[in-house]
């Protein structure tokens, strides 16, 4: 109940501050652009394998927009409250820390879900001219949603560490990029290490989804990343008890 109250306020704030509109617009324009260019490419050069290849290529591109846009949604969640001092109101209300964290997380996730829902317009339009297979597309959306959920959890954690929103956004982008390219180490590390990095990295798990494969391992991976970062956020809020915030 309290979680939803917090989530409602955060959603309101996203829309009154226009952040949601700006971020959504950029996201829609860029993903629409990727849909379009990939489709043209497939029609011209490949032709045959639109069913799977098109989605794979398009979602591989959209993931970049997602990673660079979501930190702008998460940066304010705690940093702004710390800067404005409003965090003191929440911490002295009868709320548990985890309700505050989950409320903020759900609000951001809802905005992201809305952005994704709007991009569904493109395949719907495409369906008019080309008969497609919905199943692989569903896997792509599930993968992107889970990956985005992990990005948001990471962003919330870094936002809880600072009162500067730019620092929060930049460090989130840094960590997310690192998580993507963690497995680009074949040349340097031994093969066992590379195996581990593959498992830890965002990319391998995401690639499965956009190949049209829904594997429980990949779902569990993203859910664990989300749980891990939300847990760290809890620890970060808890630290006020021994550190004391201004």
């Amino acid at each position: 109940m309290n979680t939803l109250t917090i989530a409602k306020r955060e959603m309101g704030s996203y829309f009154t501050s226009l952040i949601a509109y700006v971020v959504t617009t950029v996201f829609l324009v860029m993903s629409g652009y990727f849909y379009y260019t990939n489709m043209v490419m497939f029609v011209m050069f490949v032709g045959s394998d639109v069913k799977l290849g098109l989605w794979q290529q398009t979602f591989y591109d959209i993931r970049f927009v997602t990673v660079s846009v979501l930190p702008l949604l998460t940066m304010r969640l705690f940093a702004e409250e710390k800067k404005m001092g409003t965090i003191e109101l929440l911490f002295t209300s009868p709320l548990r820390d985890r309700q505050i964290i989950m409320g903020k997380y759900l609000a951001c996730l809802a905005v992201f879900a809305m952005m994704l829902a709007l991009t569904m317009l493109y395949p719907v339009l495409l369906k008019i001219v080309y008969q497609l297979e919905p199943a692989p597309l569903a896997a792509c959306y599930l993968g992107l949603f889970l990956m985005g959920g992990a990005c948001i959890a990471c962003g919330i954690f870094l936002s809880s560490l600072t009162e500067n929103q730019v620092v929060a956004a930049m460090s989130t982008i840094g960590v997310l990029l690192l998580l993507w390219f963690l497995d680009w180490n074949e040349g340097i590390a031994g093969s066992a290490v590379v195996q581990v990095l593959h498992q830890l990295s965002f990319s391998e798990h995401f690639l499965n989804f956009i190949r049209g494969i829904i594997d429980i391992n990949d779902i569990v991976y993203y859910l664990s990343v989300i749980a891990f970062f939300l847990f760290l956020t809890g620890c970060s809020l808890e630290s006020r008890k021994w550190r004391g915030i201004k």
Binding site: N2, T5, I6, K8, R9, G12, S13, T16, S17, M84, G85, T86, I87, E88, L89, F91, T92, S93, P94, L95, R96, R240, K241, R243, G244, I245
Partner: protein, 316 residues
Amino acid sequence: MNAIEVDHLTKYYSNARGVIDLSFEVNKGEIMGFLGPNGSGKTTTMRMLTCFFPPTSGTARICGHDILKEPLEVRRKLGYLPESVPLYLDMPVRSYLSFFAEVRGIPARQRKARIDEVLDKCSLTHVAHRLIGKLSKGYRQRVGIAQALLHDPEVLILDEPTIGLDPKQIIEIRSLIKGLGAARTVILSSHILSEVSAVCDRVIIIHEGKLVAVDTPHNLTRRLQQTPKILVRALGPAEAITKTLRSVPGVLSVKPGIDGPDAFIVDAEEGLPVINSLAQALCAQNLSIAEIRPVDMTLEEIFIQLVADDTEVRRQ
């Protein structure tokens, strides 16, 4: 059961002392002043009482609930106005209060009536639809107080509720606090003595994190006015004036005042009508008096005196 019982409360920050070994009680329905210069630990104490962070050692009970064991229960009983009056500036007043009414668990049916009530009490009804970010400091302060009053808390904690306001707003906020009703217990902090004595039933004085005195404002001023000081402003040659003032019986010393070349501060013995004698002496010398009045002690002087008294008592 007292509304607030503070029991050897101590807080050390990583690099500074917050407060040391505070113990005091606040009765139900009492308005308690919390007086101390900046950095003396008022905010630190209030943040522990509101369960913002826990003490290093010691504890406190609000309406019988321990701040360490039942923080959520304590927060339910409390209304709190933080020192910096943090607010969500992007929200209209009514939505802001509605959010906190929900957080406070006020049932949906009663929410509107309750919000209307606090809006009215804090004279905010006519700005209810304005964005908080567009309101003046005085109005924001009232929004903060309205938020603290929403759930009709038994205990209200106000951290420097009048800081940064103009004199008219100060008077309004003060009468608002006074009118909060006898059923409610209030702690309000301030670094201005006159403010606390105007509103509070009792006053706690802290200095450098330590409690120096707990008493009624009346007793405190009586205790402190042992050696009266008198400010004299007279027209004429300074030497003649000094000489005349010195000649009055009961005068211990005459020093030039800091507020101008024609001002003098007279230290006098206790229990004599020295002001009258001073005035008569000046008149007799044909020196015209511009001003003559007892000097209120500044907060700093009170602390110096209280701390000195304190160490003296301990020595005996």
